[in-house]
């Protein structure tokens, strides 16, 4: 087996170790809360959407599409040496872009999706500009812009444009199926298969974008330049690459990806935004981080890890609320990221073992 293949198998193995330990911790917590029903609860998490076929699978797919996008957003930034913790904020601003062009402008869905992408891109570019020209760490900037974006979107969706997007009756933004049916992403018959109302072709769009990202990063000069900046900024500048421009471009693309994620989710009619209660940033944005880490920032891997994270959180929603809290799924995901932080260590240990074996063999 060649080096590259070995490395890939090790990466997948390390991610699987993280997942198994994370699930085990989740099981322990279930036992602590209610040991009698822990086994049942754990099975529901493992089964995920399959617990309630076919509806559960449908909602798992609906959830996976935006997760693939936020995962791609974080992964793309990682590949170029940046940590985009701002996917949540870019996602939130993307929601505004999608809903504004859907409800106020009455645009068809693909235009709304582009609007979401554009808004996300702007929100991603800002931390990039701060990083490139003012030398402010992109982590801090992204976090600040997360909160600014959240309050801004709350304000715009609630009172903006004379409250035209806010439905007083449901205390949420207007349902797209009633207010702007032209803005819904076509379902391609998926809703009928899964007996749901919001399973659309969004998942296919997300997978196609993942493949495009893979090609850009691995097969184009542009992607190579961006990655070179990530590996070594000074060397990249020495080689004649404009690293300031590339930092901003990376963050803009990362933001655009997160924005598309918001478009895919909200234009599927999966949810409405509640500007009065939304005092926390959307979890889909932050869950892009574990998705990217589990996939080792590989765009194709992101598709699979997003489906896994969506699987666990849908499973969490099926926990019997009498005994357990659906947030246990978040807890498992958080434990997995904590473990991902030293996934490199697992890999290093495994590589050393391989090397030692090879030496002994010789």
């Amino acid at each position: 087996m060649n080096e590259k293949g070995k490395d890939m198998i090790l990466s997948i193995g390390a991610s699987l170790v993280c997942i198994i330990i994370g699930l085990f911790v989740g099981f322990l917590i279930l036992c602590c809360i209610n040991s009698g029903n822990a086994m049942d609860g754990f099975q529901r998490i493992l089964k995920g959407g399959f617990y309630l076929k076919p509806k559960g699978i449908g909602s798992e797919i609906t959830q996976a599409a935006p997760l693939i996008m936020t995962g791609l957003s974080v992964a793309f930034a990682f590949k170029t040496g940046l940590f985009n913790i701002g996917a949540a904020g870019q996602y939130t601003v993307g929601i505004f872009g999608a809903l504004y062009s859907a409800i106020i402008l009455g645009m068809p869905w693909y235009v709304c999706l582009l609007a979401a992408m554009f808004c996300g891109a702007v929100w991603g570019a800002l931390p990039g500009i701060f990083k490139a020209y003012f030398n402010v760490n992109e982590v801090i900037t992204s976090i600040m812009f997360n909160w600014i974006g959240l309050y801004l979107v709350n304000e715009l969706l609630y009172t903006g444009f004379h409250g035209a997007m806010y439905d007083q009756k449901t205390t949420r933004t207007y349902k797209l199926s009633a207010a702007a049916p032209q803005a819904l992403i076509p379902d391609g018959g998926l809703n009928a298969i899964f007996k749901t109302s919001s399973t659309t072709i969004a998942i296919f769009l997300a997978v196609i974008i993942a493949i495009i990202m893979y090609i850009i990063l691995n097969r184009t000069t542009f992607g190579y330049e961006l990655k070179a900046c990530g590996f070594n900024k000074d060397a990249a500048r020495y080689a004649g690459i404009n690293e300031k421009r590339n930092i901003i471009l990376s963050m803009t693309i990362a933001g655009a990806l997160a924005g598309i994620g918001a478009g895919l989710y909200f234009l599927s009619g999966a949810s409405e935004w509640n500007p009065q209660v939304a005092t926390a940033l959307p979890a889909i944005g932050f869950n892009g981080i574990p998705v990217a880490l589990l996939a080792m920032s590989n765009p194709i891997g992101v598709v699979f890890s997003a489906i896994f994270v969506s699987h666990v959180s849908v499973g969490g929603a099926y926990l019997p609320t009498k005994y357990f809290q659906p947030e246990i799924a978040d807890l498992i995901v958080a434990v997995i990221i904590y473990l991902c932080a030293f996934v490199m260590l697992f890999k290093g240990v495994a590589l050393n073992l391989f090397k030692r074996k090879n030496k002994e063999g010789k």
Binding site: I33, F83, F134, V139, A280, D330, C340, F342
Partner: protein
């Protein structure tokens, strides 16, 4: 005006405590982005003590218990960061982010499980805890002063003396500036970095309690501490990792932060801006300030770089 002073003092103490915590961690060489999560856990532990023992023991004892619980839990939680960042040499930002997410999840699960068991298990419990914050607050004339203000001033002076006037402070700073040099004169870098992170856990945990308890008597843990930990990081950078400058920066940020609290009830309401706009203010202010101060920032040189004894 009095309302503005009241909230400014309230938030200034919180931001200062947590930023001082961040300072200790970063001075020892570890970026502590988990402050938000540490605050949540500290606040959670303290509030649990309040709602469990509230009314059964006398006021000062209750206060002492709650403060100890929040400090201790903050220290324990920060050990998770120290373990991944120092012992395992993992990426400090990712580890910290994980701990932030973990903290909110733990808080929601714990509070809901607690409410569920006390409300005879009918499910659908909320993530809110109610408590009595009376023992924490004293009135002096027209202004109410909470216990954390006094604690904060004491800790500020202690931090400054510790960091710049004792040999331990010098060792801690050496680990953040040039760990190899520190190691060469027999200072155990790993131990001092652990110490720095754990001190930041103690201050962060206390800050979490100080953020939640004095202002309201019910807290919904679904929001964690709503970004206060991240603001504290900005305060720390603006304060250039120096205790007294941090205190000044905290007051400055606290003014912006209190604007959203008093927006509805004072002259500010006549501007016709909504609460969301004022909520944005501290974050926008911190962005502008960071843009102007980061160019000549005096950050500890070795922060964020895991110390590897074998590396040259």
């Amino acid at each position: 005006m009095i309302l503005l002073i009241k909230y400014t003092l309230l938030y200034a103490v919180v931001l200062m405590l947590v930023a001082l915590g961040g300072m200790f961690s970063e001075r020892s060489g570890v970026i502590n982005i988990a402050l938000e999560g540490i605050m949540t856990i500290g606040g959670l532990a303290g509030v649990f003590v309040l709602s469990l023992f509230g009314g059964t023991v006398s006021g000062p004892v209750l206060v002492a218990f709650a403060v100890l619980a929040s400090v201790a839990s903050g220290m324990v939680y920060s050990l998770l960061l120290a373990f991944s960042a120092i012992t395992l040499k993992a990426d400090q930002t990712i580890g910290g982010t994980a701990l932030n997410m973990l903290a909110t999840a733990i808080a929601i699960v714990a509070v809901k499980a607690f409410n569920n068991s006390s409300a005879s298990g009918n499910g659908a419990a909320s993530a809110k805890l109610t408590y009595d914050n009376g023992p924490f607050i004293y009135s002096v004339g027209p202004i109410t002063i909470n216990i954390f203000l006094i604690l904060g001033v004491i800790l500020l002076v202690c931090s400054s003396v510790f960091l710049f006037k004792t040999k331990w402070g010098l060792r801690l700073r050496a680990c953040g500036e040039h760990p190899q040099a520190a190691d060469s004169v027999g200072i155990n870098v790993y131990h001092w970095r652990y110490a720095g992170v754990v001190i930041s856990g103690a201050l962060g945990g206390l800050g979490g309690l100080a953020y939640i308890v004095p202002s309201v008597s019910t807290w919904n843990f679904e929001v964690g501490v709503a970004g206060a930990g991240f603001l504290a990081l900005a305060v720390m950078i603006f304060g250039q990792w120096k205790p007294y400058r941090i205190a000044g920066a905290a007051v400055f940020f606290a003014v912006f932060k209190s604007l959203s609290n008093i927006a509805d009830s004072t002259v500010l309401a006549s501007f016709g801006l909504s609460k969301n706009i004022y909520s944005m203010m501290p974050f926008i202010a911190s962005m502008i300030i960071l843009a102007f101060t980061s160019k000549n920032s005096r950050a500890p040189k070795a922060e964020g770089i895991p110390y590897d004894k074998g590396a040259r």
